[in-house]
């Protein structure tokens, strides 16, 4: 099929009519603050740890043309898809003419949201004096919506993945639509948590709409609109100035999936990045054909990935708005992994997307290696657990991403944190895990020698061990177990991710990507997350840095002797 060109950002919709820069700045801060109020309301009223601890959601405000006004620090990958969610949710109810004050829509068709069905969008329009002026939107992960399993790595079509809500009003003119509400609760293994989270998201969008309308009222619609156009233009300049300084050219980076979830065999893919003046084009059209298993990334997430990769690099560390996306073009080919067609399964849509970010950085390293880091562990290292509590008979579920070693970059060793695609996300404290779930967490520690060697070394990988205190099911979704991260400029890769299950009888199984693994009481799940890639030749690493790493136990004598033979070690003298 022919390729399709997508513009990642919308242009001006009002003529240039500048407002004073102080008003623009006040409006910008007020909108960010409105988004933050939304986030706070959601986090503080949510029922499931994936929302209040892991922050597996995005909240944002849009203008009436569905251009991104502001977002609160949350999940970047969701953020870049929310505009598509708003557009499709409104289409689902028959268009803007069917929108009324006080309506709230839910929507989760994966080809419109970009995600698996568990990521539900909740959208509320904002009316100022009877006129539609914008939207508040939240996309959050729901723990279970009656897919074949709460979390799946082996679906073969999208209908196995969960119940679909094709854009329906859950609240109509301020009143809960009871039949829809009951259908939602009937389609979940953990209805109580779902009810609590749905309520929290309704509180969240209402808070956002109220805060957005306050900003509009304070400045008047005309000044508000002019300030917003100014804000977008500023964002666009920031990104264009960045790319104007990068050498023009066509650069290629690559990723590789361990398998597609239902068939053996690695699946490599390439992404081409074309820098042309102050614009950048990300071309996914050479991607492999769409897969039989769920590693297909619907177009909204392919565009979101591109937005995240570029604005992280070129956005001056600030929260992006619609303007930041205007310099970005995305090319896809229908029928491929980055532009699958329904009903291809897409439960693991996020895993190719996560790797794509680093493939884009690898491509840009060919233009200028010092502008990007080497590769991280390359995965969000997700584990999802569920079961029925022994004492109470209550169903429970929990899930989290886990930190990986980050790639080194010129002048700096990598750290240990969650993957850049989840840069605001936190994983739960062990004490919170143990107070909610039937677990004994036996360790959470950095692992010697897991870091990629280099003049600047990669970040450390982490070992986790979860002992099940009651019978539990687990779905593991961990990529890059067969290919460790790459280094840059002579730097070497770090250790790859791994998942091991230790049975009570002493047997050990490797299960990095598997659904509904039975874990009877007493079994142990070990997650070993990858170390970051190094930057620059290991032979150039400063001796004092090698010795300090040795003393801190980040590396062993063997590692130091193998990778840094230039450094005399204390024990070598004896």
């Amino acid at each position: 099929m022919d390729t399709i060109l997508h513009k990642a950002g919308q242009s001006r919709t009002a003529p240039s009519d500048p407002v004073d820069p102080i008003t623009t700045e006040v409006v910008r801060h007020a909108l960010n603050s409105a988004a933050n109020q939304m986030k706070r309301a959601l986090v503080r009223t949510a029922f499931s740890p994936v929302i209040y601890e892991v922050l597996d959601f995005a909240v944002a405000l849009y203008d009436r043309d569905v251009r991104l006004l502001a977002q609160a620090p949350s999940l970047p990958m969701f953020m870049g898809t929310l505009n598509f969610c708003v557009i499709e949710a409104v289409k689902g109810i028959g268009g803007v003419e069917n929108l009324n004050e006080g309506d709230i829509i839910i929507y989760n068709w994966p080809y419109g949201t970009g995600s698996h069905p568990q990521d539900l969008a909740v959208v509320m329009p904002a009316f100022h004096e009877g006129e539609l002026v914008g939207y508040a939107a939240i996309k959050g992960h729901w723990l279970d919506i009656a897919g074949k399993d709460p979390y799946c790595t082996d679906t073969v079509d999208v209908f196995q993945e969960g119940t679909i809500y094709p854009g329906v009003k859950i609240v109509e003119a301020g009143k809960m639509v009871d039949p829809i509400y009951r259908i939602i609760l009937a389609n979940s293994r953990v209805p109580k948590m779902i009810a609590g989270d749905l309520n929290a998201e309704i509180v969240g969008v209402r808070t956002g709409v109220r805060a957005l309308l306050e900003v509009v009222a304070r400045h008047g619609l005309a000044d508000f609109t002019r300030a917003v156009e100014e804000m977008f233009d500023h964002g666009e300049r920031v990104v264009r100035n960045y790319f104007a300084a990068i050498p023009d050219g066509t650069y290629t980076g690559s990723g590789v999936m361990d398998d597609n979830g239902v068939e053996p065999g690695q699946i490599p893919f390439d992404i081409t990045v074309i820098v042309d003046g102050d614009a950048v084009r990300l071309d996914y059209s050479d991607a492999p054909p769409q897969q039989a298993g769920p590693i297909n990334t619907p177009v909204p997430s392919t565009i979101s990935t591109s937005r995240v990769a570029i604005s992280m690099l070129a956005g001056m560390g600030e929260a992006p708005n619609e303007g930041h996306f205007r310099a970005i073009e995305v090319v896809t080919r229908p029928g491929t992994m980055f532009h699958p067609l329904p009903p291809a399964p897409c439960f693991l849509y996020g895993w190719p997307a996560v790797q794509a970010i680093e493939a884009v950085y690898q491509a840009l390293s060919h233009a200028a290696p010092e502008i990007v880091p080497a590769m991280s562990g390359g995965c969000i290292c997700s584990l999802v657990h569920w079961g029925t509590r022994e004492k109470t008979g209550e169903p429970w579920a929990d899930g989290a991403p886990h930190p990986v070693g980050q790639g080194a970059w010129k002048g700096h060793d990598g750290g240990t944190m969650l993957h850049i695609s989840e840069s605001a996300t936190r994983f739960s404290p062990v004490e919170v895990w143990e107070s909610r779930n039937p677990w004994l967490v036996e360790c959470m520690e950095l692992v010697p020698d897991s870091c990629g060697p280099g003049e600047w070394r990669g970040g450390m990988g982490v070992d986790f061990a979860f002992r099940m205190l009651e019978d539990t099911y687990v779905t593991t979704s961990v990529e890059r177990t067969e290919n460790g991260p790459w280094g840059l400029e002579g730097g070497v890769g770090g250790r790859a991710n791994a998942v091991r299950i230790e049975r009570a009888d002493g047997s050990v199984e490797s299960k990095p990507k598997a659904t509904r693994i039975p874990m009877p009481k007493g079994d142990m799940l070990r997650l070993r997350t990858g170390g970051g890639g190094g930057y620059g030749a290991p032979s150039a690493r400063a001796p004092e840095a090698v010795l300090a790493d040795l003393e801190d136990g980040y590396i062993t004598h063997d590692y130091a002797r193998t990778h840094h033979p230039q450094v005399p070690l204390p024990d070598d003298e004896s």
Partner: protein, 673 residues
Amino acid sequence: MATRIGVDIGGTFTDLIYYNETTGETVEGKVPTVPHAPEEGVIHAVQAHVPQHVIADAAYFLHGTTVGLNALLERRGAEVGLLATQGFRDVLEIRRGDRAEMYNLFWQQPPALVPRRRRLEVPGRVLGDGSVHAPVDEAATRDAIRALMAFKVDAIAVALINAWANPDHELLVERLIREEGFEGGISLSHRISGEYREYERTSTTVIDAFVRGRMSNYLRRLETRLRDLGFTGTALITRSGSGSMSFAEAEDRPFETIMSGPVGGAHGASEFARSLGIKALITADVGGTSFDTALILGGEPQVLYEGSIDGMPVQTTWVDVRSIGAGGGSLAHVDRGGLMRVGPQSAGAVPGPACYGKGGTQPALTDAAAYLGMLGPGQLASGITLDIAASTSALATVAKALGQDVETVATGVMRIAAAAMGGAMREVTVEQGLDPRGMTLLPFGGAGPLMACLLADDLGMTRIVMPPFAGNFSAWGLLGADRVQSSARTLVTDLDAQGLTRAQALLDTLLAELTDRGARPDKASPSARLDLRYKGQEHALSVDLPLDGTRIATDVDTILTTFAREYDKTFGGTLDEQVETVAVRATYTEALAKRQVRVPEPSPAPAEPASIDAHSFALGKRLPFAIIPRATIAGPTDGPCIVTETTSTLYVDAGWTIRPGTQGELILDRKEL
């Protein structure tokens, strides 16, 4: 015995104020800070400004200091060893996996306060319900303790998993540490915080161990010196979460004083807002080195239950004060890109701005102000006469590098500093969704009144209130810091009759612990809060728990009604779910007597009013500014003018009118230009 002495140490000046409860007399003074021995500056200030009989008669010495904070920021604290549960030595470094700047691909986690080599393990495990899964392996623990002693650590922090639920293992480890002969400080996590979340609790415990020695030595030296001067009263230091504690308590719980410095100003502002009935007020405390700003709503500062310093969480109550490195001493320089920057480097107390004539050659913000005439003719409280020629030649070096004239550079320094300070003020207002334009600006600190009109214009504010003793206002605020002890502990249980009984039992325990820590129930009044949530949620709302003596004077239904009202107010709706308790918070407050500021009668105006050619930012040019001694202002006076008083100088731009208020304050209103 009715005098209180307050001393606040800033980066540049040490400010003093004392207040006589009987006569209402208030006296202020200022001396340079002694950075290498801050207590010397305190003693200099007391010796220079407080008569011997007043020292001997004083009931309280109230103190605010950044000693602990600076030790942390500059990483000049104890060598700390950390004992953690086996398998969890890296909690401090792994943190929660997030980035403080989420859009910054190159964000780096701050280095852990304890390097990995000094983080060792204790085999043994407590579970979340408080039960013991595995006993402590004493032999292995002794090995770890000896290894830490071989590193010659000054202090040992012990932070074991689930110690909040059962402290027995930490207490055992403490005993083993002492048996091994370690004589340094020991910080146990369950004593620091009774709340769960191991990273946050470990971070707080390590910070406590890190600053403990330095704080304790400092407080002991200071107290000895005060006693030598004849002081016989009680010495108190302000807490990060407001109120004050005795020096002895502060030695035991130093982490509670980390943000002691900026709290004095927030206290004073709150007291002032209450007495004048100001609903919404933003503070602008401009010292020599830093700028602090806080929001005061309804006469109360904003209190958080967790703070953070330099990316490290601190699990304790916390007055929300934002600080940036910009003040009168901030130096102007040209960066590599050819742009002029102001701060964060500061001329500090030594050498100080060029115009102090103490050897400074780089231009500071004070030099720009002096050059522009904003400080009037230049007699400062600390006895310094401004050397305008020195300012001019310092500014000229930067002007030459930029190819600009000195006037442009000087006004640029002021504008850049005002924009940076304005950004911090937006954080506490606009970014909380609050419009500063209807609020009152309260400028204080040596350079606050100098910056006030620029800051108000930056945020579109039209009302400024300059408090009495503005130059020493933080010290004045200290004098009103009630003595407070507080403690909190996690208690997860349904809120029913039985739950309330458990809450009462825990409250009794907490109040008894506070008494052990030095609270005086005969003089102090207890108060309590209950953190509540709907069962299934994680986050809680804190509601006031009315007491009759130390007994909970309310019932389950009334608490539920209060909670539902607060929840509805905060989140716009309530749920049909069981409510559970999460934590009990107990406080003893020993109130100091209320103060009355004695307002002196205005003095007669000088026969020949002086004036100076100064820069007007409103009009963008120099024009004559009248120089008016503050004591002579009896009625409304139009700007432009420069108002002088002992410890600060007020710059009133064209377009502003000043008038005296009822409590010794000056009120500035913006007219339409």
